[in-house]
């Protein structure tokens, strides 16, 4: 089943889906598995597994640190794919790869798509690969039923949104504000305006991310977007208060 129909099916039972995020190997793969158990229990619908990279230039301080520590402890691409396979077989939520283009480039685009498919991933988010550079990878992905997740942003012109919309499949990731991951976003008219602008250019489901951290944010997005994307806030909670804290975080978020 493709990502788009998976999202449609999940949306029959609830009005706002949730996508969560873990950085592979940080603080460890064991801890990742614990986090994912909690996310699964809470009813998370989709998870990004971030493959660590030494130059994560679109990430904020917490994820930068996580990427760095994961690599320092020896995390490899092989381990990340093995972990993805384990996770996609064990849980009912769908799994995406998130990472930077050099990781894909070094193994080769064909190999990347093939390995992602074998590991049970349904798509990928590669934030530093612009559409001008993505035609070949997207073609390979389409042939393998793997979805490239396109990012739409507040600085994208209508002309650009039209170009992005034209190649969107599965879902789009609406970046709620400027900046890197992890800072607070003021959910207001700007975000609604952006979602409406994006909606004019694509018919696939829309996830909204960057700065989502509370039930209030969820309530705000409900009815406006298909999915809330939660990254930094969950990792911060895990760092501050461990498994119990993370359970509480998701329970409150998804109440």
């Amino acid at each position: 089943m493709g990502l788009e129909s998976y999202i449609a099916e999940r949306k029959q039972h609830k009005d706002l889906l949730v996508m969560a995020h873990v950085v592979c190997g940080y603080p460890s793969f064991e801890a990742n598995m614990q986090e994912l158990e909690i996310m699964h229990e809470a009813g998370v619908d989709l998870v990004e597994l971030q493959f660590p990279f030494s130059e994560p230039s679109a990430d904020g301080p917490l994820f930068v640190h996580a990427n760095e520590q994961s690599l320092k402890s020896g995390t490899t691409v092989d381990q990340c794919f093995d972990f993805m396979k384990l996770v996609s077989e064990r849980f009912s939520f769908k799994v995406l790869m998130m990472g930077y283009y050099n990781t894909v480039f070094k193994m080769g685009e064909e190999v990347f798509v093939q390995r992602l498919k074998e590991a049970g991933g349904v798509g990928y988010i590669v934030p530093d690969l612009p559409l001008e550079e993505s035609a070949h990878l997207h073609a390979l992905s389409e042939a393998a039923d793997i979805e490239p997740i396109i990012l739409m942003t507040p600085t994208s012109s209508d002309k650009r949104l039209a170009q992005l919309g034209a190649i969107s499949r599965g879902m789009v990731y609406v970046v709620a504000r400027k900046g890197v991951t992890g800072s607070k976003t003021n959910m207001g008219d700007d975000v609604i305006g952006l979602i409406e602008r994006c909606r004019q250019h694509t018919s696939v489901p829309m996830g909204v991310g960057f700065g989502i951290s509370s039930k209030a944010d969820m309530d705000f997005l409900r009815g406006n977007a298909d999915m809330a994307i939660v990254g930094t806030a969950a990792l911060q909670t895990w760092e501050d208060s461990g498994a119990e804290g993370l359970k509480k975080f998701f329970a409150e978020l998804m109440a």
């Binding site: 030494s54 230039s57 070094k106 550079e133 600085t155 900046g179």
Partner: protein, 419 residues
Amino acid sequence: MDIFDFSDGREGYYGKYGGVFLPEILHATIEELLVCFRECKADPKFWQDYVTLLQNYSGRPTPVTHLENLSRKLGGAQIYVKRDDLNHTGSHKINNVMGQGLLCQRLGKKRVIAETGAGQHGFATATMAAKFGFDCKIYMGAVDVARQRPNVFWMENLGAEVIAVEDGQRTLKDAVNACMRDWVTNMADTHYILGTACGPHPFPEMVSWFQSIIGMEAREQILKQAGRLPDRVYACVGGGSNAMGIFQGFFDDDNVELVGCEAGGHGVGSYMHSARLAYDDATVGVAQGYKTYFLQDKEGNMAETHSVAAGLDYIGVNPIFSYLHDQGKVRFEAATDIEVKEALKLTMRTEGLIPALESTHAFVTAIKEAPTMSKDEIILINQSGRGDKDIFTIADALDDAKWKTFIGGKADQYRGENS
């Protein structure tokens, strides 16, 4: 040869290198920059304003000096040096910075950010920002802040805010990432003054364009002084902006050999160097917004680099050089830390010149090759920066005992004042 005459659909590419690999959020900003740059490049008045500004503010044209003593001592080719060290702030970095300052005025932006390694580019940017009235923030790896305090001192006193970057290896590449993170947040009022001919298009072309003033001057000067073109031109290559600057003056002269000199650090096989093209350790990758040769592992994570010269200590090389290397248009050599120290001593003693440690890499290769050439052949070296302002680094590099005693005394004095 016009490497900037891109074919359809290949804008920003040099062979398979270059391009734009940035988050979508920066697409509009980089487009805006590209449009503005194209206007500037097409406007003869912009270039004239730029040249006038550098003449009146930075002392251009910088001279070419014939090193008669060194040439005689080596007994081979006649050695000439392009003196970009005589620029205000002590290096060629000011050329690019002044150009981007004028461009920033055209963009109508009021704030500039820049990365810096050794501190030369940060120093030049802080100087330009003070003159043009821009708010200025400089990102510098925490390791570099610790080892380059004099440059930090000047940046801060010129009114810039210096941020010590604590991520990654805490050096130049991490400062570039920090700039990217600032830029994705503040692009509306901020221009990123990238310091070398690297990064996403149009930066490699833009920085090369501003630095081409070095080669334009040098070609004219050497013709006048030596009566003919040089046989070989040497320049150090970190990101590659000073080398692109001087080489462009000779791109159409097929009999002029261009030699790029990278940082060999501890040498071949040490994995403690920054030689992307001269050694075989680097592979093609995509990072920091562009595709080129990077020192990286097989999964694409960047390797640790090293050089005695902080300004050459960088993982990637300008994409134009990756292309020109493939084409055989530029030859690449490396100089080790030890060779650099010896060449610096020789140059100081025989000519009274103090090249920056970065520029001394070009001297190493030239000094090696000059004796194998005939006396009527001509060598031109780009002395891109001056070394006297890096007294702390050079004194360390030369392990100068009297300097250490002096600094020890100075430290005691400060401790006395604080207690």
